[in-house]
């Protein structure tokens, strides 16, 4: 643990290098801005700025992307509380008590509590990393290609089955994503796969084009002329944001409980932040002395889910960085960005790239401080941003998407790819298929294939090597359990946890 503390200190040093700090600030600011804008999410934001990271060095790149991520969580909370409009699904729960608080004039206090929850969660996250990392480093030594491919499979399965909608559809989308990953030149044999003779495709499909098409354009196609995204008239000033002492006291334990829920679920690959916030909220209601207060502006209903969301965000990075399994699409994008830079996230990343790992951990804390510093005076600006009508926003966003994608390879074929995936994404959405697993499959596909081939090469073609290696065997066992649980729940037609929790919320 002493080593971990030492590394953390080093990480702070890395994160505070002026150049790195500048990109962190940029990311956090941008993320916050995009999180506030109605109709835009963290996914679109990160996809749009992904091309920019191609020209940055790995450390500022990942710091900026991470900053965008939790910056957008802040922005999303603002939208949820003031507008009853979550631009990011996890904040849906925050609306339930946050918006009534705004209607009662206590919106500012809700925002203040959100900030504190986030700060608290970030600090806890750092502590956990300090304690966890020696164990992770030890585990790293035992991870060979067999174990790596096995755990990636587990991550894919978890991501596929726990995403929105039917698990079968999630699996189908993951497979589709894996397939998209094979398009291009095969690394080992040099054959061109599925490129249809188009030479630009020999490098494969660009990650930014894929995600911007699937999440950006597809979202426009689904939203246009349909959803009414209202602008807000709320006016919130700096002084409104201080919660009263009573409110502070009431939020303390919910904050703790929410953080605990977030940490627990954050470490599990495949669970999204949405279900985490649902569970935190449901827990608060169960534990509360007077549950009828919920839904009418109970500050516990804001503190707990927000703490859960923010700590889950922090915790999401752990399996992504240390094991290479992304918990959701956003993590998959971050993972993809690192891979493009030539850094292989996985068990060996902590020892091979301690500057990135610990710099990232330190930047969470710094980022949260930055967010508090920025949000307090800027809250008026954000509120005004909330008033930009969607009909003006999306054409501008479309332009940024196009030019962002163009900037990666100076190739307009990439822009065509965006349109194509926009159509694909919209079709899948209309058929009730979740599109996030596509990105997961795409990012992990090539790595799984490489490790799988290597594992078989080393074992000379015997598949049983997955059972003879103890760690791999355990992981395969977990996969089997996961599949069995899905089959069982289908056979019994029991509802998914999300439905159960949702019912708990609706039934008073």
């Amino acid at each position: 643990m002493g080593q971990a503390l030492h590394d953390l200190w080093y990480g702070f040093g890395v994160a505070l290098v002026p150049n790195h700090l500048m990109w962190s600030v940029f990311g956090v600011l941008l993320g916050n801005l995009i999180g506030v804008l109605p109709g835009m999410g963290a996914l679109t934001a990160i996809s749009m700025l992904l091309p920019l990271t191609y020209v940055l060095a790995p450390i500022p790149a990942i710091l900026m992307l991470a900053g965008i991520f939790y910056g957008s969580m802040y922005g999303g909370a603002i939208g949820a509380i003031l507008l009853n409009l979550p631009s990011h699904p996890p904040h849906a729960v925050t609306c339930i008590d946050g918006y009534p608080m705004t209607q009662q004039g206590r919106g500012g206090a809700a925002l203040g509590v959100t900030m504190m929850s986030s700060f608290f969660a970030a600090s806890v996250g750092i502590l956990i990393m300090i304690f966890l990392s020696p164990w992770l480093e030890a585990a790293a030594l035992n991870f060979g290609p067999t174990e790596i491919s096995a755990i990636m499979l587990l991550g894919l399965l978890a991501g596929a089955t726990m995403s929105r909608g039917s698990p079968l559809k999630g699996v189908a989308m993951t497979i589709f994503g894996l397939f998209i990953g094979t398009v291009g030149t095969d690394v080992i044999s040099g054959t061109q796969r599925y490129t249809l003779g188009i030479s630009e495709l020999s490098d494969g499909i660009d990650l930014a084009a894929l995600s911007l098409g699937l999440f950006g354009i597809a979202d426009f196609l689904v939203t246009i002329n349909r959803k009414v995204i209202k602008a807000s008239d709320a006016k919130v000033g700096m002084r409104d944001m201080r919660p009263t002492r009573a409110e502070l006291k009431r939020s303390f334990f919910p904050m703790l409980r929410g953080t605990a829920v977030g940490c627990l679920f954050g470490a599990m690959p495949g669970t999204g932040p949405t279900i985490t916030t649902f569970i935190a909220y449901a827990l608060e209601r169960k534990v509360a002395k007077d549950p009828t207060r919920f839904g009418r502006g109970a500050i516990e209903g804001v503190a707990a889910p927000e703490a859960a969301a923010h700590s889950k965000t922090q915790m999401d990075f752990i399996p992504t960085m240390s094991l290479g399994i992304p918990g959701d699409a956003v993590m998959a994008l971050l993972l993809g960005a690192l891979i493009i830079k030539g850094i292989q996230p996985g068990p060996q990343m902590i020892s091979e790239h301690p500057d990135i790992f610990w710099g990232l951990v330190a930047s969470f804390w710094i980022g949260n401080v930055l967010l508090i510093v920025l949000n307090v005076p800027l809250i008026g600006v954000w509120v005004r941003m909330l008033q930009v009508p969607y009909r003006l926003l999306y054409p501008a966003a479309l332009f940024f998407i196009c030019i962002g994608v163009y900037s990666t390879h100076n190739s307009l074929i990439d822009v065509v790819e965006v349109a194509a995936f926009g159509v694909v994404g919209a079709i899948f959405l209309a058929l009730d298929f979740p599109i996030a697993p596509i990105v997961l499959g795409y990012v992990l596909g090539p790595m799984i294939e490489e490790n799988f081939r290597r594992a078989l090469l080393l074992s000379r073609g015997t598949l049983s090597v997955y059972l003879t290696h103890p760690i791999a065997a355990w992981i395969i066992g977990a996969c089997v359990l996961l599949i069995a649980a899905q089959v069982l729940s289908y056979a019994r037609r029991t509802k998914t946890p999300r439905a159960i929790v949702a019912e708990t919320l609706i039934v008073d």
């Binding site: 039917s166 079968l168 559809k169 699996v171 189908a172 497979i175 589709f176 894996l178 397939f179 094979t182 095969d186 080992i188 044999s189 054959t191 796969r193 599925y194 354009i217 426009f220 196609l221 246009i224 002329n225 349909r226 009508p389 969607y390 009909r391 003006l392 999306y394 054409p395 501008a396 479309l398 332009f399 940024f400 998407i401 196009c402 030019i403 163009y406 900037s407 100076n410 307009l412 074929i413 822009v415 065509v416 965006v418 349109a419 926009g422 159509v423 919209a426 079709i427 058929l431 009730d432 298929f433 294939e449 081939r453 078989l456 090469l457 000379r460 073609g461 598949l463 289908y490």
Partner: protein, 152 residues
């Protein structure tokens, strides 16, 4: 009432998956398959294609009732869809043929016209505004190698 009402959503999705899987397998078999120890380029894609078809069959078997005509269905937004996609394609085509400024102007304009609440004037003003910001940020600020105008 669209004729799509008759089709079960899940079955359509399943059919799509089976078709895709078949196409992937068909193309994948033209690459070398190899064996488990020395996998050729086609091995994994073919496996994926087969898996996709199997999942498609599973979905059609476990299909929940619910066609496109259910309460959740929404009317087709051809204007919006064509304008959004048209905007992207306009950028791609004009960017290559005419340069950044015409590409941005037209793509933003077309995309904005997709929304029924946008008048021609609104869309035009937005297009000019975004072009201005875009040129400033990307060409002068970030020095992106994108010609403003291509006059051949």
């Amino acid at each position: 009432m669209t004729p799509l009402r008759a089709f079960n959503k899940d079955r359509v999705g399943a059919a799509l998956l089976i078709l895709m899987g078949a196409a992937i397998v068909a193309q994948g078999l033209t690459y070398k398959m190899g064996e488990l120890t020395r996998m050729g380029a086609g091995f994994i894609p073919v496996m994926l294609g087969i898996a996709l078809m199997l999942v498609g069959i599973a979905i059609s078997v476990t299909a929940e009732p619910g066609g496109f005509g259910t309460a959740q269905s929404r009317p087709s937004e051809w204007r919006g869809w064509l304008c959004v996609l048209g905007g992207v394609m306009a950028f791609a085509v004009l960017g290559a043929l005419a340069g950044l400024v015409p590409a941005t102007l037209l793509s933003v304009f077309i995309a904005a016209m997709g929304d029924r609440a946008n008048s021609v004037r609104d869309s035009a003003i937005l297009a000019v505004g975004v072009t201005g910001v875009g040129v400033l940020v990307f060409v002068y600020g970030l020095r992106m190698p994108f010609p403003l105008f291509i006059l051949s």
